[in-house]
């Protein structure tokens, strides 16, 4: 049987056993008479039998599917002619690939090369044998586990406890998948970064002030020495993020206060979704808005008062990015401000405080942790944002604090390093991972510091 069919059989049998066990348990409990004496609901017995029936068979199916290709390939390689095996791993790889393709295409009889034809036939027979064994194994497992499971269907079986435990196992494994994935990403970035730091010194990367990642591909190339000082990128990221936050935090926080404390329910129900639309606009749209509208406007404004403004400026990118992240600040802050209990507002009003005094001295301090986390979320968005910067702030890695000049950011450089035809071993490509790692560390530090500050200054209500 095909593995899809097997899967269907397993699931169908699980469903059937669920209903069977539930029905049976119902009958037993009823005939016993005392419903209060039962340990578990009939449905628990149903779930238990379904699990008994499905899990061993599913495990076998899954394990088989994981290891089958490797094992079959190994057996195929063993049967290959000697001259192919002597050719080394890459030759064997190419050869087996070739045979796999031939089998997929069909028509083994028409293969000209006798060796290949033999190998292809071997592969086909191996595969059909594997399928047969798998089918037998799965069906046997189903039968055995069903029988064992049925023996367990006794009134004293603690079906409820087992089913609840199984639910917990599922939840834990879901959480683990998320954590393991994160760890995997971090580790892979870490290892690639270590390879990078073997080529370029760590301190040169961290403290260098010149970023020019073009390295010579051929020995006779000139002018592309490659220098990997990440400072201009991090200052660029900081400059743009700070500008964005200067725009977004006051605007977002003030609108949150207005929405939560002053606006009528009707106004709030209209304005809040409108603000949140800002977060739904694709960043590339913000990008061309920044590049085509805001940047030229800033440029002409600056020049009218005698400032030299580059046509791509950190200010344009930062300001537009600030607008983009307003809803992160406003929407979340609005939620936390609204959730400050009315009782402490009443207490403040009852003492003769005005609304503004109440907000400033009671509501905002109580909402501070939530407000800080909304700002953090906005900051993470600003630091990670790429599209707006590519379009509006340019690619020039200038080390400057002047918001009117073109700058570039870490994320933009990662994009430019990894797009296009690249040699994966070169320092230029690996630099992207090092940048990613540094960015990750920087954001993590930011979060830790902010959490610490909040814990230190929070005013906790209960």
């Amino acid at each position: 049987m095909q593995s899809n069919t097997l899967l269907l059989v397993i699931l169908a049998l699980a469903v059937v056993s669920y209903f069977f066990a539930r029905h049976k348990a119902f009958g037993v409990l009823k005939s016993n008479g005392s419903v209060s004496a039962r340990h578990s609901l009939p449905a628990h017995y149903g779930y238990l039998l379904a699990l008994w029936c499905a899990i061993p068979a599913l495990a076998i199916l899954l394990g088989w599917k994981l290891f089958e290709p490797g094992v079959i390939n190994g057996m195929l390689v063993d049967s290959l002619p000697q001259q192919v095996v002597d050719g080394g791993d890459s030759r064997i790889g190419l050869y087996t690939n070739d045979i796999n393709n031939l089998v997929e295409a069909g028509g083994i009889e028409s293969i000209a090369d006798a060796d290949k034809q033999a190998a292809a036939q071997k592969l086909v027979s191996l595969r059909s044998a594997s399928r047969l064994v798998l089918t037998v194994l799965v069906l046997a497992a189903l039968l055995v586990s069903l029988l064992v499971g049925l023996r367990h269907m006794q009134p004293q079986t603690q079906a409820r406890v087992i089913v609840e435990k199984f639910i917990k196992v599922i939840l834990v494994s879901c959480a683990s998948i998320a954590i393991l994935t994160t760890m995997g990403i971090v580790l892979s970035v870490l290892f690639e970064s270590i390879r990078f730091f073997q080529q370029v010194g760590f301190w040169e990367f961290v403290t260098g002030s010149k970023w020019s990642p073009q390295t010579a591909i051929r020995a006779d190339q000139v002018g592309s020495s490659g220098s990997f000082g990440a400072i201009p990128l991090f200052t660029g990221t900081m400059l743009i993020s700070v500008i964005a936050l200067i725009v977004a935090v006051p605007l977002g926080l003030m609108s949150a206060i207005y929405l939560a404390e002053y606006a009528s329910a009707r106004t709030r129900s209209i304005v809040k979704p409108l603000l949140e639309i800002l977060a739904g606009i694709p960043t590339v749209v913000y990008g061309f808005f920044a590049a085509l509208t805001v940047a030229p406007a800033i440029r002409s404004m600056g020049e009218s008062i005698g400032l030299s403004v580059s046509s791509e400026s950190a200010l344009a990118a930062g300001a537009v990015m600030g607008i983009m992240i307003i809803p992160f600040v406003s929407s979340l802050s609005d939620d936390v401000i609204t959730s400050v209990p009315q009782s402490i507002r009443d207490a403040s009003f009852g003492l003769g405080a005005t609304q503004a005094e109440t907000i400033r001295k009671v509501v905002l301090p109580a909402a501070l942790p939530g407000i800080v986390s909304s700002v953090l979320l906005a900051a993470s968005r600003a630091i990670g944002e790429t599209m707006i910067v590519v379009m509006a702030a340019g690619l020039a890695a200038n080390l400057t604090a002047n918001p009117l000049e073109a700058v570039t950011t870490v994320t933009v450089q990662i994009v430019t390093l990894l797009t296009g035809d690249q040699e994966f071993e070169s320092a230029k490509t690996l630099a992207a991972f090092a940048l990613g790692l540094m960015l990750f560390v920087a954001t993590l530090l930011l979060n830790v510091i902010a959490l610490y500050t909040v814990r230190r200054y929070r005013e906790q209500y209960d």
Partner: protein
């Protein structure tokens, strides 16, 4: 519903003497509406200086709503509308030129659930003094805070930890902190909305003693669910039913010899 309407219609005016010789506050013909629904029907009542007046009645009888009219706390509820006159020292507090903010500094309020600010004990008490600029310097502020805590009978328990959060205190201590907080702004009237309903009997007894002491300096109006408490702390008692003031009079009189049938039913525990 019809039965309730019939009872409501049967209440005509208030039994007992609503007026006092030296009223601190005096309410006449007060109606309160939540949107279209009328919650208070033409209540007349005086609150005297140096007196505790208890407002009792079954749940939903409007006693809390009425209490919240006395310092315009109902202003914070958009659908709530108050008509009639509420006089404080002869001035209508609902007049157009009256500022609710200043009013609430003169008529303080203690709430049902202790609601200290999530700040230190000191800052809780200093809050009102700070926003009203009552203290010129730190020493005066200290005096106000310590004095208020002493009058609320809390100072001895917290003097070594004025920096601890107010929310770290026990329920009874939190409620005394809230009382200290409201007397720190030197109000003339203190409104208490079931101040002991979230407290254990010992903490309740402590607060009741405190209320009795505070009577020397303030006019106090207290809403309570407990008739024993009303009998213990108050000099006059007002019985509310379905938004009408049924009977008012000397506390001893009300509890020993109620005039109105509804009052008698409530006091003898036939409903409520």
């Amino acid at each position: 519903m019809d039965e309730a309407q019939a009872v409501l219609d049967s209440i005509e005016g208030t039994v007992g003497e609503i007026a006092v010789d030296n009223p601190k506050m005096s309410m006449r013909d007060v109606d309160v509406f939540y949107a279209e629904k009328q919650a208070i029907f033409g209540v007349d009542l005086d609150v005297a200086n140096n007196e505790v007046i208890a407002m009792i009645g079954p749940s939903g009888c409007g006693k809390s709503t009425f209490l919240r009219c006395l310092n315009r706390m109902n202003d914070t509820i958009p659908i709530c509308r108050v008509s009639g006159s509420v006089m404080l020292d002869g001035d209508d507090i609902y007049a157009a030129d009256q500022d609710p903010v200043l009013l609430r500094a003169r008529v303080g309020m203690v709430f049902q659930k202790p609601n200290p600010f999530p700040k230190s004990i000191f800052d809780n008490v200093a809050y009102g003094a700070r926003i009203h600029g009552l203290a010129a310097n730190r020493a005066e502020l200290d005096d106000i805070v310590v004095g208020s805590l002493k009058r609320a009978g809390l100072y001895e328990e917290v003097k070594s930890r004025l920096d601890a959060p107010g929310t770290s205190l026990s329920g009874g201590q939190q409620q005394r902190l809230c009382i200290a907080r409201s007397i720190a702004v030197s109000p003339e009237v203190i409104l208490m909305d079931e101040p002991c309903s979230a407290l254990d009997p010992i903490a309740t007894a402590r607060i009741e003693e405190l209320i009795d002491e505070l009577r020397e300096n303030y006019a106090i109006a207290i809403v309570t669910h407990s008739m024993q408490q009303a009998a213990r702390v108050s000099q006059r008692t007002a019985y509310f039913h379905l938004g009408k003031l049924v009977e008012v009079g000397d506390t001893n009189e009300i509890f020993t010899n109620p005039q109105h049938e509804l009052t008698e039913n409530y006091i003898t525990g036939r409903f409520g």
